[in-house]
Symmetry: C2
Subunit: 322 residues, 2 copies
Amino acid sequence: MIDKSNYLGVLENFPKQCREALALPKGGVISGEITSIVVCGMGGSAIGGDLLKTYLSSTNIPVFVNRDYSIPNFVDNYTLVFVVSYSGNTEETISAYKEAVEKKANVVAITSGGKLAGLCKKVIKIPSGLQPRAAIGYLFFPMLGLLHNSGIVNVTNNELNETLVTLKDTETFKNKAQELIKKIRGKTPIIYASNQLEPVAYRLRTQINENAKLPALHHVFPEQNHNEINAFANMSRNDFVVLMIRDEHYNERIKKRMDICRDIMERNVDVVEIHTKGNFLLARIFYAIYLVDFISYYLAIDNRVDPTPVGVIEQLKQELRR
Amino acid sequence: MIDKSNYLGVLENFPKQCREALALPKGGVISGEITSIVVCGMGGSAIGGDLLKTYLSSTNIPVFVNRDYSIPNFVDNYTLVFVVSYSGNTEETISAYKEAVEKKANVVAITSGGKLAGLCKKVIKIPSGLQPRAAIGYLFFPMLGLLHNSGIVNVTNNELNETLVTLKDTETFKNKAQELIKKIRGKTPIIYASNQLEPVAYRLRTQINENAKLPALHHVFPEQNHNEINAFANMSRNDFVVLMIRDEHYNERIKKRMDICRDIMERNVDVVEIHTKGNFLLARIFYAIYLVDFISYYLAIDNRVDPTPVGVIEQLKQELRR
């Protein structure tokens, strides 16, 4: 038995997690005017910030995701800073939190506990006991709920319903993922999406790293057309495989670019397409996130490694304490 | 003779290009108040925007680099939008330009000609006849000069002098690069830097793609510690090699993380360090950019490909016109 900590069970519970997470702000609202949002976090705790940036791209509020010890200099009392650390003890995020307080930003922490829960005045507490990357529902939906309560975005019941209904059919996700990994196994995946869906590509890359303990690359269209496309002439289908995250709502020119590049890349490397599903952006994002999470899970099982433990990260943390 | 278009000659002329580029705004200033800067561009024309973002990180002006058909929704008449296209005909950048005008942004184009030169009212004209990626001096320094003239940043003579003096010793760069490629050849490079120097890592990745026509990955510290570090257990030193861009001015914790990770990664993969040189950030950025450009050049020669032509990109552009 490789899946010692029941990673699959946690994945199967994901739709329930999202529903619960939405209710966690409990009617809380943000006080004061907000002109920009900064999400501070690392790894699995930061990806919810990327999803928020994509979700808010149709508004006029800029969102910055900050994966570092320091925060940007422009942060001031008009900046809403979400400080996100699943454990509450991530050293980069605590350092960023302190800078945000110094700059008198409007700070809200999202954490299961740790130092951060003790330091920050406004905390949305989320359940503990998961790997951060398995808690993406808890790490994303409370931000969305709080922004909705505060009138900064209007999350409709229709989009929420579609999202939760989309996630319900766990068996279909499992079957699709198991089919897909047959085409990926033994090769280094090169993952592409549009800029808007880059968080899905990055999620798949990092989930492959953490769950399957394997390398992966990602890049975005149309930027890839200006550099990486040149590298395929010297790649082999034994070494690499391309995974394209495709979405019906992409700009028509990006769709055309993807079609043309598929033909160019297929001369040297196999190309596998992953299509999103759903009418609302929120549903399409979470459909894709859920599917790529299953892909990384089955890649781990296929690679005969337990997806849950990340021993190297624990070792690194220990050595940093010295 | 592989270097048919004399790419090496263009590289050797780079210090001269930077000096010339600084004078191109010719005393021009930006009118009106500016609260944020957006740089629109693709590929070799966008990287100057990344460098500007790094350079301005100590100010309170947020910089966004936009590699897409659309621009962010928050752009308004307080946004300075640099529209950068070496040829002046990049379709994504022209589309972004039109959106910026609709949003009444403060638009300045940097181009050698093309459609953009005809469309835009404020143009900083740069010399034509180069590959965009070889024109990074022309594509970056005019932005810096204009911001300096307008009192938005203060570029000192000391930092300019150090930058230009640093670039002067072309032979040393050539020798260093030739030494370095002996350790890289035949493997897929994984390039790391801090967030601040990510543009250098991305530059090396894309220059390897365009000049040597080879694949490469990049990622940043400390984020890498939360995901990609797990992948090394399943990597082989026959397939991959790590290149770390190091800088004495990195946060001490990031330096420590790099030291610890070097040991972890070296169990499976060779690690090569590239150290920046210089006191001023501007000098260190351009030292690193110049060195990695030579690395990609010698990798091309080593891979027996002409660094200049990018046939696949030309083919892609043709098919997009159909």
